[in-house]
């Protein structure tokens, strides 16, 4: 089954100077993310697979679906490690 991800409920996002800032209220940590990373985290307000995120990035940025898939997968993996993203329960 393809994993679905969503943003940790204790994260809060904002954008500044073309980048993103993420606060994790649970760990009280502050993160900077790229504009693309912010777009991914905003999309992860609800459960999504990496494959579902790819069209969003392809539509907004000059990137191939293959590259978007790879970079999104890498970003989500890093966010999982930092607890910014969690694996969504199966419906």
């Amino acid at each position: 089954v393809t994993a679905r991800y969503q943003r940790h409920p204790e994260t809060r996002l904002t954008a500044i100077e073309g980048e993103g800032v993420v606060l994790h209220l649970g760990t009280r940590r502050y993160f900077s993310v790229s504009e693309t990373g912010l777009a991914v985290l905003e999309a992860l307000a609800g459960p999504c697979t990496v494959e579902e995120l790819v069209p969003l990035l392809v539509a907004s940025y000059d990137v191939t679906p293959e590259d978007a898939g790879k970079s999104t997968h890498a970003f989500v993996t890093r966010c999982l490690a930092a607890d910014l993203v969690v694996v969504a329960p199966h419906p």
């Binding site: 809060r12 904002t14 500044i16 800032v21 606060l23």
Partner: protein
């Protein structure tokens, strides 16, 4: 001028003292808030509530759902309960706490006020505020030994309007973010007082400092400032120097000095957005304050010109 915060107090002897304290802050939040104070045995925090935050003298607990906070004073039994959605702080004071009422006001009630004002959209920041003679708003953020108070006093000596040297609140304003001052005496350490050439400050017992109203130093009071300049200060050994910061760097610093953004999930986004707007609206600098400032008080304005 008096505070618009409503006071309900079941102990008649305490009411005038609480009213005077609230009025002295000059805080006028845009919505109705209530401080409901009773005397009795303070209720314990529910068993399933966890420690959220500890500031000097005050422990803050929250439920697992994050819906509201429970504050307790470390010095004597006193608690405050605030729901996430209601605009009332329910305070219960023991007789022991009442016996130390002035101390209770300085620590416990200030913390209660900070949480209560969040419910009006005003979010705490540990900072000094001032307005220079050209009408520009300044905000100085930093820790307890970063020169905020001495610089605020120096500004007042130059005829600036000063709001606060310590406790302020970010507040939405028309197309801007304002910073509202909680009025209190500028608290100087004895060496700061000596360097400024001041004397006859009021002894602030608990803080081992000497307090001055900005008016006593030659300045005025600024209840509200729209910052155009933000300084993140530290005290150094050399000459006063300033390094410009990007808006992104400014936001990271603001989060540090407005750390209560991490508390109460229902209010965190609003708080973070105010800081983001403030970081965009002002020029910001990391500043090292040197002793040269006392001989040349205009140095800071020259550096950021």
């Amino acid at each position: 001028m008096s505070s618009t915060i409503r006071l309900a107090c079941s102990a008649p002897p305490l009411e005038p003292r609480l009213r005077a304290w609230l009025d002295g802050t000059r805080l006028e939040p845009p919505v109705s808030l209530t401080l409901d104070v009773r005397v009795g045995d303070p209720p314990p925090a529910p068993d399933d509530w966890h420690s959220l935050f500890q500031q000097p003298g005050v422990a803050v607990r929250s439920s697992a759902r994050g819906s509201g906070v429970h504050l307790s004073w470390d010095v004597a039994p006193a608690v405050a309960e605030l729901d996430a959605t209601t605009r009332t702080a329910r305070v219960t004071l023991s007789s022991v706490a009442i016996a130390r009422f002035d101390e209770c006001l300085e620590t416990f009630f200030v913390a209660v006020l900070i949480f209560l004002l969040r419910r009006a959209g005003w979010h705490h920041i540990h900072a000094a505020t001032a307005i220079d003679p050209e009408g520009r708003g300044w905000l100085l953020a930093g820790n307890g030994h970063s020169g905020k108070s001495t610089t605020a006093a120096l500004f007042a000596r130059q005829g600036w309007q000063v709001g606060t040297d310590d406790t302020a609140f970010l507040a939405p304003a028309y197309r801007a973010v304002a910073v509202v001052a909680c009025r209190a005496r500028i608290a100087l350490r004895p060496d700061g007082e000596r360097l400024l050439g001041c004397s006859a400050g009021m002894t602030l017992d608990r803080r081992h400092k000497l307090g001055y109203w900005p008016e006593e130093l030659g300045g005025g009071f600024a209840p509200r400032v729209v910052p155009e300049v933000i300084l993140f200060t530290a005290v150094g050994n050399g000459c006063t120097a300033a390094t410009p910061l990007s808006a992104r760097e400014c936001l990271a610093e603001l989060v540090r000095w407005s750390a209560w953004v991490m508390l109460e999930p229902d209010l965190a986004q609003e708080h973070l957005e105010l800081m983001t707007r403030l970081a965009r609206q002002a020029k910001s600098y990391r500043v090292t304050l040197g002793h040269d400032l006392f001989a040349r008080p205009t140095r800071l304005r020259e550096l950021i010109a």
